[in-house]
């Protein structure tokens, strides 16, 4: 066994260790440890990615010494390591970008707790990505929930408390459904390791037994994860949660947390149930419809939003709709598009949140639109970053969003005829809606007149961390937009590794 094969496990454990180390440290120390570990994890994940690319196959890693079918396993393929790399990079950028605010927003004695939560969150994210058995998945889903809740409520304002509560309730409902589906799956197959369940299920499907329980399992599992990832009718917690947490939390939560559940769902679709069975079960059609509705409703809510953060948060609702639409197309191309959009959204949303914070700082910390008039001139970097993020979301060529859109459209045309037209039309309508709320804001921040007097002449000079984070995210955006071919190839290969 190659040493590199330990890296996925190392990353998860390292994050936890970082959390433990941070406990006695003060804020500054915890910050250093966390940043170091997150960078290290990014590096490890990248090495894993290279390793898999090099060897051409994924690998599984058995935790503890229990052999299958009993033990817990990790599985690293192209897709997992790719996402792990991007996720840890985004966490790093988000932390750097919001670092000064972490220290001002959060009570001094709790700063180290914040970093512990971030460590915990990253470890759970990585575990959800890498896991190869449902047991581990469930445990880390819960850890994820708890740490997320902590990240939301650590900035002790009334709204963040309530947002955390609402988030918890929705999440717990989701995990309850997920858990019961796991239990039933165990009841039907007698296994918790993905590969074994898959084998059993294939046999069951071939013999025609347990059709109804299987359908119930699929629905419970899908609905549970959909609720947790904030698919349209279950999104009500998102705006408050993203809008009122400290900015690093917002960036991380909106770009990563819900995506990890979506990835888990994709993984279950492929590795546990089997994609053909999923397509037969028609559950994808439900996802498809809700995805489409979410695309529109999210955008409409974003247009109605009166504050910039809520606007971005609602935009996340729409973007999650995109991803579910891609899954709902039930083709490999659709899945590639969905995964690519996970990446796009991760790099873009964090960019948007960080730059929105910059604009907000340049506007007397007011979040309503009129205050933002001309903010891009008061904080040029944040303005440019917001501009680029918005253009990416709208789908201007050379940026990541365009490629996502292209992949979605191509997938739709290649896929089933019945889904093609709705997809295309909703895609375009949602582009127009995106334009309305994003570019409206861009126009506003680039309007040099009409700024309120009291901070007309404010000039914001961002911290080096902020500059670095924004520049890095911008570059990642362009990178995804310009060199999408290798990345889509990677994703396609990764999905083929699942099957």
């Amino acid at each position: 066994m190659n040493f590199v094969q330990n890296f996925p496990c190392f990353s998860i454990v390292l994050c936890m260790v970082a959390g433990i180390i941070s406990t006695p440290l003060k804020g500054k120390g915890a910050k250093r440890v966390t940043l170091f570990i997150v960078s290290l994890v990014a590096l490890l994940s990248f090495v894993t990615l290279l390793y898999i690319l090099f060897t051409g196959t994924g690998f599984t890693y058995t935790m503890g010494r229990f052999p299958a079918p009993w033990g817990n396993e990790l599985r690293a393929g192209l897709l997992e390591s790719l996402l792990a790399t991007v996720f840890s990079l985004v966490v790093l950028c988000s932390l750097l970008g919001g670092m000064d605010l972490i220290f001002t927003d959060i009570a001094e004695d709790k700063v180290n707790l914040y970093f512990i939560l971030v460590d915990l969150l990253l470890s759970s994210l990585l575990a959800i990505l890498y896991t190869n058995d449902l047991f581990t998945a469930y445990v880390f889903v819960e850890i994820n929930t708890i740490s997320t809740c902590g990240l939301i409520m650590i900035r002790e304002s009334g709204r963040s408390l309530i947002a955390a509560t609402r988030y918890m309730i929705m999440s717990l409902i989701g995990s309850g459904l997920f858990l019961i589906s796991i239990a039933m799956l165990y009841g039907v197959t007698g296994n918790l390791l993905m590969e074994y369940i898959h084998v059993e299920i294939l046999e069951l499907a071939a013999s025609g037994q347990y059709q109804v329980p299987l359908l119930v399992i699929i629905s419970f599992c899908t609905v549970g994860l959909a609720i947790k990832s904030g698919l349209y009718p279950f999104h009500s917690w998102m705006p408050d949660a993203y809008g009122y947490a400290t900015i690093s939390s917002s960036a991380i939560l909106s770009s990563l947390v819900s995506k990890s559940y979506i990835f888990l769902l994709i993984k279950i679709f492929y590795c546990v149930i089997g994609f053909d069975l999923i397509v037969q079960s028609k559950i994808v059609n439900v996802l498809f419809v809700f995805g489409l509705v979410g695309m529109i409703m999210g955008s409409v809510s974003a247009i109605m939003a009166k504050e910039i953060y809520r606007m971005i948060a609602y935009s996340s609702v729409a973007q999650i709709g995109y991803i579910y639409m891609g899954i709902g197309l039930a083709t490999e191309a659709g899945m590639v598009a969905a995964v690519f959009h996970i990446l796009t959204h991760a790099v873009t949303k964090s960019l948007l949140f960080l730059s929105a914070k910059g604009l907000n700082e340049a506007s007397g910390r007011k979040r309503v639109y009129p205050a933002l008039q001309g903010a891009a001139f008061r904080n040029p970097l944040a303005g440019a970053a917001f501009l680029i993020g918005s253009l990416s979301m709208v789908g201007i060529p050379t940026l990541a969003g365009f490629i996502s859109k292209l992949l979605f459209a191509t997938a739709a045309i290649d896929g089933s005829q019945r889904k093609m037209l709705p997809t295309l039309i909703v895609l375009e309508v949602s582009t127009i809606l995106n334009t309305i709320y994003f570019l409206h804001t861009v126009v506003r921040i680039y309007t040099p007149v009409g700024a309120p007097e009291e901070y007309k002449d404010v000039r914001i000079h961002p911290t080096p961390g902020r500059i670095g984070a924004l520049v890095a995210l911008i570059l990642m955006n362009f990178g995804l937009g310009l060199f999408s071919q290798p990345i889509t190839d990677l994703i396609r290969a990764g999905i083929e590794m699942f099957a």
Binding site: W70, F135, Y138, T145, G158, G176
Partner: protein, 125 residues
């Protein structure tokens, strides 16, 4: 159907409990009742898992009498899952209770709607 129900009495109970817990969590406005609902829901799943995990005639997966044959014991994973689940649900409950305390201190209410109203009123000030 009848015999099946009678045979699987644990599972039936679990499903009923799950329903009760789920609706309580979803529909009640009182925070404490929500938390109770959450616990009922979780417990039902554990009951279900434990019932599933038990195979008639086998022992708990603790090595007894030096017998290491896997056929002798039940699969330890579901039991492990239940144990972990209990831990998780305890911590989640704790977290929820902590949140509830915080909110009660701030808004003097356990009713979620009431809290929302008070929050908005507070922000308007």
């Amino acid at each position: 159907m009848g015999p099946n129900l009678a045979l699987n009495v644990e599972e039936v109970a679990a499903v009923i409990l799950f329903g009760i817990g789920f609706t309580t969590l979803l529909l009640h406005r009182n925070m404490i009742k929500k938390i109770i609902g959450l616990n009922i829901m979780d417990t039902s799943v554990y009951l279900f898992l434990a019932a599933m995990g038990y195979i008639e005639g086998r022992a708990a997966p603790i090595v007894e009498n030096g017998v290491t044959d896997a056929e002798y014991y039940i699969n330890p994973i579901p039991s492990g899952l239940v144990l972990t689940g209990i831990v998780v649900s305890v911590s989640v409950t704790a977290l929820m209770l902590a949140l509830t305390v915080r909110m009660y201190r701030r808004y003097h209410s356990l009713d979620l709607d009431e809290i929302l109203i008070r929050m908005q009123r507070e922000e308007l000030k």
